[in-house]
């Protein structure tokens, strides 16, 4: 575990948790990003608010990169379209079919002690681990 960064992970998680709480308290909605993404594209109510949240998700990192970070922030991603295109499609399709993603099920749902969300999170984490392990058997790392 030579890349383990528990302190920044915990700090980032607490900040995300505060955003989730403030969003829920103010608007009454859960900060599940896949749902916000769908509403921003096809929703009939609060569409601009959902778009504003997504815009914030891009602005936040830009603020961090330019005014807060003292060193460049790492970003390493595969550039294989064979992974990117099916990966993106399955993330979009799967999160909407399953009713949530890492934020909606993983944070809001577990935070509310929803049994469905605990099971959903267990499934996508386990399947993600199996997927990565299989890819590694074929020599695909990252």
């Amino acid at each position: 575990m030579n890349n383990f960064t528990p302190f920044s992970a915990l700090l980032g998680g607490i900040i995300i948790g505060l955003s989730v709480v403030f969003y829920f308290y103010s608007t009454g909605r859960l900060a599940g990003i896949s749902g916000i993404f769908e509403n921003a594209m096809t929703g009939t109510s609060k569409r601009l608010s959902n778009l504003a949240f997504l815009l914030g998700l891009v602005i936040g990192p830009l603020i961090y990169f330019n005014f807060i970070a003292s060193t460049p922030v790492a970003f390493n991603i595969t550039h294989s379209y064979l992974l990117i295109i099916p990966g993106g499609f399955l993330v979009g399709f799967g999160t909407r079919l399953g009713g949530g993603c890492t934020s909606g099920h993983g944070i809001c749902g577990i935070g509310r002690l929803s049994v469905n969300s605990i099971i959903a999170t267990g499934i996508f984490v386990a399947v993600g681990m199996v997927t990565v392990t299989i890819l590694q058997q074929f020599g695909v790392y990252l």
Binding site: S8, F22, F53, G88, G98, F124, G128, L135, Q136
Partner: protein, 136 residues
């Protein structure tokens, strides 16, 4: 503040949290999913930190009927665990494992200006639209 400006502010705070947590970097997420090889447990601390922060507030607000802005609160109703939840979460898990991006970090990753993130997002949007137009 109105709904739009609060949503924007919450998105900004969420995005800053994501970057600080390291989860906008697919390498960190793949490191967590890589359970048999050089495992990186950081993601547990991100989710744990967020859940421990938000959980008590959700409990405290559990009987709230209206938000601070005055909207009726409609939380997801208790549902049976069905095929959609299991199949959907499984497919999401495959996609997550292929690239190391879930919806939040996928959007925040636009801030890196790497064009590949746009390809991922367009594919994700296609997945959302196909689901919406094929399954109730």
């Amino acid at each position: 503040m109105n709904d739009k400006s609060i949503s924007l502010l919450c998105g900004i705070i969420f995005g800053i949290g994501l970057v600080i947590s390291g989860m906008t970097n697919p390498e960190k997420v793949i490191g967590f999913l890589s359970i048999t090889h050089n495992w990186d447990a950081s993601l547990i601390f991100v989710m744990g930190g967020a859940i421990i922060t938000a959980g008590p507030f959700f409990y405290f607000f559990r009987n709230k009927e209206f938000s601070a802005l005055g909207d009726k609160i409609n939380l997801p109703a208790k549902q049976n665990i069905d095929k959609k939840l299991i199949l959907g979460s499984s497919l999401f898990g495959v996609g997550w494992g292929l690239v190391g991006l879930c919806p939040g970090p996928a959007i925040s990753a636009l801030a890196t200006f790497d064009p590949i993130t746009l390809v991922f997002l367009l594919s994700m949007a296609a997945g959302v639209l196909v689901k919406k137009n094929t399954i109730k």
